[in-house]
Symmetry: none
DNA sequence: TATGAATGAGCTTTCATTCAT
DNA sequence: CATGAATGAAAGCTCATTCAT
């Protein structure tokens, strides 16, 4: 538990040391970074229950005890990995700048961005899947995670309003429902690639398959929002 | 491993005993059924790695050894649970009878069915999520699972052709892409309900939310297929 | 434990039913025989600790419970196998009829018999090895086994006396020591064949190797007893 | 399996640390040594199948997990015990220095050495017996064991040649056959002491019995090699 | 900070034995 | 006599965590 560890010995990870870090903290930062990198791989591949602390230690090249020194427990380490993954995604979303685009282009870009993000960050899909298997209990537990806004809804609302005003979009589109749909189309493809590839005898990881899928999704969404 | 167990002493589960089962086999069947029921709950809630054989034994009210007697190993039991879940879903799909309906109604029914199935069989979503985390390795391993056809594609193809002929559907819709989209919309909603509910501060498990979601999904898909 | 079982439900094995056995006892006898045959193989191959009751049941084609019905416990079954093996060997020894032969021929025959017996009854060697690993505890426990005389010592004594009288043997040969030596030469070769074959890169199970070995042993022993 | 463990996390036992071992490795070495000592007793007394890891842990006074930490598995631990026992015996054999002795003395010394070694290393006999029950499978598996030469054959060959040249030995003695005979006489006596003591009502472990036995064996072998 | 060693609870699985029919 | 089902103790092994330096 995160709480337990904090009450005991958990060192605040030296993520953003103000001023110039000396040699010691630089080495420390490197260790922490290596642990996180290995942990992300391990948790991503095997989930929280399936992940092994020994494996993370070995893969990171760092002594096992250091994991406890820096992160307190396996669960806390998992939480840190999860927080960073969410933070990275939120950051990318916030850098999208859809508002400046023509509404149709904005929607297209959003759909493509969603697919793109999972292609470039496959860990995210699996971390989400794992966290959902755990009923989002770590997401709920983390104050840092709870603070992260899903800013896209507001942006989407703006885009929809603009599109409506410009008479290119139909009226009354619920931004949350639309966002869910866009999220569904992108997430599902990557999260279920293993079973789908097996059941359909196609390799969904191939770029060609991915492009066709994205094109279809864009088509589907744009057809929906467009004023007929 | 299924193979290992079969090579040893695994009893063939008495699924379909020809003729009237006597008292003994009836009790045996009951034990097997109780094990399966408890196993489904456990694997669904915690995944393969997180599931505990002890817990399955306790919840099923059956001696732990019986699990090994009937199913050989934890992995084999998981595989059996997975096979049954898939079989149940395929069976439901095969009973859909979409071909007799007007094309638009058929598509609507298919979308609603997908949502409905997950509402009534929440285990399926989580088993799929878990199996995808394991890269579909058990799906690949099982010959029974590999044989199960995804019959819906053919049906969907027929419906699309009919709709096209009747000039109610647009031309050139890829049935697989459309099926993926329908599957995405339904699966995502349930698989990601925990994180979505947390992040959006809404309880997606509420019937009202579900109905709104289904309506949106139907709208999205029908708008797409309809000839404009 | 044999004692425990006898106090409870152990059926006296129907080994020698006086008069004509009816159908029931014939089937019973067959079951018992099949169990014993499979048990001998299992205990011979794996020793008492390594043997599996399940395996004996499967190999014998008899229900596992029958093993307990007839023999009480795994240990009792082992004891029965051991007793029968010893009895068979003692019987063969008693049928040797060395006394009628010229002393030198008698000794030669004894040596050859010892080798021969292990060739034809390889189980005996391994049962002896196993029982020695257990510090002969079952041999000690069994009254039937304790009663079995090693009649060969008396015979050997007679042969040595005769040889001495006929001036073909040296004087003062200790029959027990000589017997031990003969037993050593034969037993060792078979009991240690696996490690010897491996360490020396020769296959001691080959007839040619065996014949050479027997010839040497005969030579060794006869050279010893002969009057010079 | 040795391989499996090595592929995983088995620590290389710190047998010969170059340089001065610090306190930490000294404690580690002690733990490893205690485990080995207890394991030798357990495997010697009960064989591989009968031995209990719990018992080894308890007798060694070391946490059970340490056994897996240092040796990987029960089988690997057994293999290590076996390797060490063989290595010790081969080392003693190599230190015999028979070549400098008069041929008859050399043979006598060899016979006495064989008996002596088993008297001083009773574990060896039982480990050999156990390994033979397992068809020498660990002996075969171990590359270290396969490399250990049975140097005595060469030495024996030299001695026999010298004896022949000096006209004290008969011609044409096969060194391997002679070695087998010497090995038989010594091994059998100790390996079968439990059953022999029981069957003959004598306690073969008594020094007096042992001395008489050795004298007989020496007599037997020397009579054989001597030129008449 | 860093490391190897150690711990104890708990995990999956095995096995001899017994029950109930 | 015979059978499949059931039992409980214990086996080998794993794993997150902590100790000691």
């Amino acid at each position: 538990m995160a709480n337990k560890a904090i009450l005991k010995t958990r060192k605040e990870p030296t993520t953003t040391a103000s001023g110039a870090p000396d040699q010691r903290s630089r080495r420390s930062e490197q260790s922490q970074h290596q642990i996180l990198a290995a942990a992300e791989v391990e948790f991503t591949n095997k989930g929280l229950a399936g992940a092994r602390v020994d494996e993370i230690a070995e893969q990171s090249g760092v002594n096992k005890q250091m994991i406890y020194y820096y992160y307190g427990s396996k669960e806390d380490l998992y939480l840190t990995v999860l927080e960073r993954a969410y933070a990275g995604m939120r950051k990318s979303e916030s850098e999208l700048n859809l508002k400046g685009l023509p509404p149709l282009d904005a929607i297209r870009k959003l759909v493509e961005f969603k697919f793109d993000y999972y292609i470039k960050n496959p860990a995210m899909v699996r971390l989400l899947a794992g966290e959902n298997m755990l009923n989002a209990q770590y997401l709920k537990k983390s104050s840092r995670l709870r603070e992260m806004q899903v800013s896209l809804i507001d942006v989407l609302q703006s885009v929809l309003s603009a599109g409506e005003k410009q008479k290119v979009f139909r009226k009354g589109i619920d931004p949350v429902q639309l966002y869910f749909s866009i999220a569904s189309l992108s997430y599902f493809y990557f999260a279920n690639a293993p079973t789908l590839s097996t059941a359909f005898g196609r390799n969904l990881a191939e770029p060609k398959e991915q492009k066709a899928r994205i094109a279809h999704a864009v088509d589907l969404i744009l057809t929906y929002v467009r004023k007929t």
